[in-house]
């Protein structure tokens, strides 16, 4: 096609011919819900990103920003896909300022890589460090996102990705201090800075977090750091039933202890993480994993008091994962979905949100709806945050289960909505996505959201149709 030849030539001039790919395999890898781009570009710096976006505006192309693609399954099937822009070459540290507890990195950098650099200021490795070697200056980014082996900072921020330690350390909105992104007209925009205290102008960083690439392509992020905790470990306990696990969790939340995370896992979620201990947990059983991070005395007290509470709640088994294996456990947790999707490529993932106190009712409903329909699922809940993730373990090529999954999703969405929450489809095949409201039900602020999208991306250059309200 002549038009695409012109476009390809223009792109080659911007990024160089070796950094634009159009072979069948690449296009397949970079497809979104089965829709392939006609080329994938790999810009080398923010200026090249800007030029590509400008070209897209002129040529009315639909762009998909792409980090590692770990969250690409999120969202409505796109209305249109022309070009994927991959940030893999934007992978440098721009500014490392541990004395001021900030770091600025390019958005294509993998989270795992920056985390290990921060923890290796004196050449030691993270997260499996020998505590005796840890220097005082070592820091970390206080996030624990899923897909830790591949996720990039840009994608994490764009997807508002978080994990178990949100309980103690907060969310991306509490950690992102500044961003540089390319807007729909190609302009390079800088917002925020290096300081936590910053009320100059509108808080545009908050706008970019969770915007799923619909307003711009993140190219640089500045994040707040914390000093590494002196000690860490994880207390794991298993229970015969959800209600026992929940008694334990409720007891814990009545104290002034400050765990880093409190997770509830069903047996299918627990097995891959603790294959040796899996026998403890029969079907119907539940595990609770509590991460402890802080000064020695606090961690010691927490592990001992938490053990008491677990036993009081009828724990069948418990163990304490020491420092050196603590990181391994939580890495496994983060990689659970990539792992499960290896055995179950057609995995369907829901994320439910609801007021914190309603977690038991939500999980019980999910369990009964799913088992009534003879489906199998892994379930994880951030107990103190009002978030539950459900992964339906669907055998490949099985289409007969789709009706049943739709029915589960609809009932769960109804209940979450009724109590002030929502249900989002994080991952599903396009045919299933088309049968469900992928982003749950819209809220009354959608009108303002649409006006913002219209102002910032009037031509619909970024990910058209993928986000809430079909924007």
């Amino acid at each position: 096609m002549t038009t695409n030849t012109y476009r390809l030539e223009s792109l080659q001039e911007i990024v160089g011919p070796e950094y634009i790919k159009g072979d069948a395999e690449t296009l397949s890898t970079y497809s979104v819900d089965g829709m392939k781009p006609w080329a994938v570009v790999f810009p080398g710096d923010i200026e090249q990103v800007s030029e590509v976006v400008q070209l897209a505006g002129k040529e009315k192309l639909a762009l998909i920003p792409w980090g590692s693609g770990s969250k690409i399954a999120m969202g409505n099937p796109p209305v249109r896909v022309d070009l994927a822009i991959c940030t893999s070459r934007l992978n440098r540290v721009i500014d490392m300022d541990t004395a001021n507890l900030t770091v600025t990195v390019q958005a294509g950098m993998r989270f795992k890589d920056i985390q290990s650099i921060l923890g290796t200021l004196e050449g030691k490795s993270m997260p499996h460090k020998d505590p005796a070697d840890r220097g005082e200056k070592d820091c970390f980014i206080p996030l624990s996102p899923p897909c830790i082996d591949s996720a990039t900072l840009g994608g994490i921020i764009a997807a508002n990705s978080s994990g178990p330690t949100r309980l103690l350390y907060g969310l991306p909105r509490d950690i992102v201090l500044g961003v540089r992104y390319v807007a729909s007209n190609g302009e390079i925009i800088r917002m925020g800075g290096k300081t936590v205290k910053n009320v100059s102008g509108y808080d545009m960083c908050k706008l970019m977090i969770g915007s799923q690439g619909s307003l711009g392509i993140l190219c640089e992020v500045t994040l707040r750091l914390l000093p590494l905790p002196e000690r860490s470990g994880t207390f794991v306990s298993t229970f015969a039933s959800l209600s026992q696990a929940s008694s334990f969790v409720d007891l814990l939340f009545q104290t002034s202890l400050l765990p880093a995370s409190v997770e509830i896992l069903n047996s299918r979620a627990y097995e891959p993480l603790r294959p040796d201990a899996a026998a403890e947990l029969k079907a119907g059983g539940y595990a609770a994993a509590v991460a402890l991070e802080g000064v020695q005395e606090a961690v010691d007290r927490m592990s001992s008091e938490i053990r008491e509470m677990a036993l009081e709640s009828g724990a069948k088994g418990h163990s304490y994962i020491q420092e050196d294996q603590h990181g391994v456990f939580w890495e496994g947790y983060s990689n659970l979905v990539p792992g499960l999707s290896g055995s179950y490529p057609d995995l369907v993932s829901f994320k439910l949100n609801y007021p914190i106190s309603r977690y038991l009712e939500v999980i019980e409903l999910a369990d009964s709806l799913i088992s009534d329909r003879s489906l199998d699922h892994a379930l994880l809940a951030h107990a103190g945050s009002g978030i539950t993730m459900i992964h339906i373990l669907l055998d490949q090529g099985n289409t007969s289960d789709l009706d049943r999954i739709v029915s589960v999703a609809e009932r769960l969405l109804d209940r979450c909505r009724a109590i002030g929450g929502n249900l989002v489809i994080d991952r599903a095949k396009p045919e299933l996505k088309r049968r469900l409201p992928v982003w749950g039900l819209s809220r009354e602020d959608l009108m303002v959201i649409k006006r913002i999208k219209n102002q910032m991306d009037p031509l619909g250059v970024f990910c058209p149709g993928q986000f809430v309200g079909g924007i």
């Binding site: 205290k197 102008g201 509108y202 808080d203 908050k206 000093p227 802080g294 000064v295 809220r443 913002i452």
Partner: protein, 459 residues
């Protein structure tokens, strides 16, 4: 604006007695805690969200500016009506609507006084963490508008980290909820945009705040220094050694002198500077952390250290810090407070340049500020009736902001841009950056009636 006509129509919306237009009222509501002055055409005190919605809808139809007001303690002119119009004063909407401990939230009307909320929550063993120094007087709605900070923000974050959602009246009177009691709603973080928007994007009529369990233990330390440099070096050293206390506040001699006369907090009048360092959390290991801090102070030539023995002593230490801005009236009747924020390692250098600027313009400058997050508050003390001095003060303030921008910081840490710092916005934002913010403003308020003329420079 056809004042009489509008006043009549407002009187049909608002309860009798709550539409103010006397000479005195219009003067009283034309100022805040900044040096700016304005004058509204009418002031209304709504009693409900519906009142606010109907007033704003009327204003939108008639193209009349609307300025929200809490207690008017704003320090940058954000609360000043510069284009006439209607001041919407939230003092009557001051109820705590819902305390929901199991869900860790409290829902309030915007006119609730921040300290009142904190006291109420502490009585139940819970904490609303942001503690701006104005908390005795300022309102939650005002805190939301400014994204207020305070000493405990070093550990707990600023107001925006504690606002989960809000009921908002938009430019045309439409009422929508953003956020909510549940976390992670998909879409854009409109709540995050509203906080710190200085009343230019919408008016919050109900606010959902996050509460946390009150810390089990608190230790408060007063560290006394012979030089400002030693005190600021201590600040960096504490962070560099992996300790993030709950607060790291600094005051210099000028401020302490003023404070002692008014509050008698027990500050030493011959010290160059003090630090107020507070630890909070689980009691285990806190003594050892405090020891580490003491060691660091000693390495930086601390002259003396006092540890608050009990809550009474702790309150006294804090009364001094929180009363600082008010106390300086004993020295000169007016002040201009700068609000620049710099990376904390740059503090010693920036502070010494601030002193030089004081000498250059022949103005008195005292420092009281959140050293832990590099948020300076040079208080330039003067008499605003002396127009020459006022002019020198404005120049000094502008130069201070320049230094902060040069040092890689920002021009406002917590007091907002308002009117006062509009001209400095171009120190830190390009035209493209400002353009992006204008797009957000247009999305929320295409009629430009909500607090017009604030934050963003004209194009």
């Amino acid at each position: 604006m056809d004042s009489k006509g509008i006043i009549d129509r407002l009187q049909k919306i608002i309860e009798p007695g709550y539409v103010l237009s006397s000479e005195m009222d219009l003067t009283l509501y034309g100022y805040d805690a900044s040096l700016e002055r304005g004058r509204p055409e009418v002031v209304v005190l709504p009693g409900s969200t519906e009142d606010v919605s109907r007033v704003v809808a009327l204003a939108c139809r008639e193209k009349i500016p609307v300025v929200g007001r809490g207690s008017g303690t704003n320090l940058s002119g954000g609360t000043i009506p510069t284009e006439g119009g209607i001041v919407v004063h939230f003092s009557r909407m001051n109820r705590i609507l819902d305390i929901d401990i199991p869900n860790r939230t409290v829902t309030v009307e915007p006119g609730v006084i921040t300290l009142d909320l904190q006291s109420r929550m502490l009585n139940q063993g819970f904490l609303y963490a942001p503690d701006p120094a104005s908390q005795k007087v300022s309102t939650i709605g005002g805190n939301l508008g400014e994204n207020s900070g305070g000493p405990h923000c070093l550990k707990y974050g600023v107001t925006t980290n504690h606002v989960l959602g809000a009921e908002v009246v938009l430019y045309d009177g439409t009422v929508v909820w953003t956020g909510g009691k549940s976390q992670d709603h998909p879409g854009y973080d409109l709540t995050g945009l509203l906080v710190g928007s200085e009343g230019t994007l919408g008016l919050a009529t109900k606010i959902i705040l996050r509460i946390i369990r009150a810390p089990e233990a608190i230790k408060t330390i007063l560290a006394i220094y012979g030089t400002v440099e030693d005190a600021s070096n201590t600040v960096s050293a504490i962070i560099a050694e992996g300790i993030v206390p709950a607060t790291l506040e600094m005051m210099d001699n000028l401020i302490m002198t003023a404070v002692e006369e008014s509050v008698h907090a027990g500050y030493p009048l011959d010290a160059a500077a003090v630090l107020i360092i507070e630890l909070d959390g689980m009691s285990d290991g806190m003594d050892r952390q405090a020891e580490k801090i003491l060691e660091i102070c000693k390495r930086n030539h601390v002259r003396e250290i006092q540890l608050a023995k009990d809550n009474v002593e702790r309150e006294r230490l804090w009364a001094g810090r929180k009363g600082a801005f008010g106390a300086v009236a004993r020295l000169r009747p007016s002040y201009m407070v700068c609000d620049g924020t710099v990376p904390r390692t740059k503090l010693p250098e920036v502070l010494s340049r601030v002193l030089e600027i004081g000498k250059k313009y022949g103005v008195l400058i005292g420092n009281v500020f959140h050293a832990g997050d590099g948020n300076l508050h040079p208080l330039i003390l003067f008499d605003e009736r002396d127009k020459d001095e006022l002019e020198r003060v404005r120049k000094a303030a502008s130069e201070i902001l320049n230094i902060c921008a040069d040092a890689g910081g920002t021009i406002s840490g917590e007091h907002g841009i308002g009117l006062e710092k509009i001209k400095e916005m171009t120190l830190i934002f390009s035209e493209a950056d400002l353009g992006a913010m204008r797009q957000v403003k247009r999305a929320f308020d295409p009629a430009d009636i909500l607090n017009p003329g604030k934050i963003l420079p004209g194009q």
